[in-house]
Amino acid sequence: MNLKRTLALSHLLTGLLVSVMIIALLGTLRLLTPPIDTIGETLLHINAQSTQVANAVTSVVTYFRGLDTLGEVSILFLSIFGVALHMQHSTRNLFGAHDTLLQIGAQVLFPLIVLFGVYIITHGHLSPGGGFQGGVIIASAFVLRFLAYGDHYEPSARLLTLSESLSGAGLVLLGVLGLLLGDRIFAQILSLGTMGTLLSGGVIELVYLFVGLKVAAEMTLLSQHFIKARDV
């Protein structure tokens, strides 16, 4: 007991010391160096010229680094593949609660949460957010239904797999089309539109739509596998 308390105290002291050091380090770095804005300024400049996208982070993620996003999405696909191989379905649900109030609340909240996710996806080039965040929000609506209904709710696995694979194929197709028609992968092959409106950005909006659909389907499948897993 005494040893444990001493250990906890020493850990606490170490944590405090490290955080004080980090704060001091950040402070001195900020004092010593001039503000670093070489890459940021250049990116903002290029962004204002070549893509009509209000949110510069989006244009970096999907346009300048589109191939990285493709790799990220394929990593997610591999992880859901591994989970699906590893965990077999059982009919038992971990969340077996049947609460009438929760079921009614889930019915009311489900379309609202899906709508919010779709808003986050489609406004990814205007405001913070994008395909990944909106997709996970849509999947959380499905998790709410799993919580409320237990065994009585099974989203169609075929539909989920179909939408997931179709959106993944669409994403790859968009990249290859950019490679064929333009000069590089995910090149801009559509008209840009004006900055700040919903239909601006050309390819970027399509990339985020595909990524959002894919992430939503994958996360729903993943949570379904986790929740309905047999004891491994």
Binding site: H11, L94, P128, F132, V136, S140, V143, M219, F226, I227
Partner: protein, 81 residues
């Protein structure tokens, strides 16, 4: 005002991390971990990176909590019967 908020958020992050390590009940650890995610969301917002903040909120509160809660339920079901 902003540096004060940043330091307060950092201290609460430290408290949440210590609680996540040293609490007896694993459920309390999971809750502290979620509090840690919330605090880091606020921190990213204060550093004016709303995209990262949104991702952290979604991952920390959605996926991470789901994985931990499912793991907790699996282990508890194994112990009790």
């Amino acid at each position: 005002m902003i540096p004060f908020l940043i330091i307060a958020t950092l201290l609460s992050l430290l408290a949440a991390a210590v609680m996540a390590i040293y609490s007896r009940d694993p459920a309390h650890s999971v809750l502290s971990y979620m509090g840690f995610g919330l605090g880091s969301t606020v921190l990213y917002l204060l550093f004016s990176a709303p995209d990262v903040a949104l991702t952290e909120a979604v991952i920390g509160a959605g996926v991470g909590a789901l994985v931990f809660v499912v793991a907790l339920l699996q282990t508890q079901n194994k112990e009790q019967p």
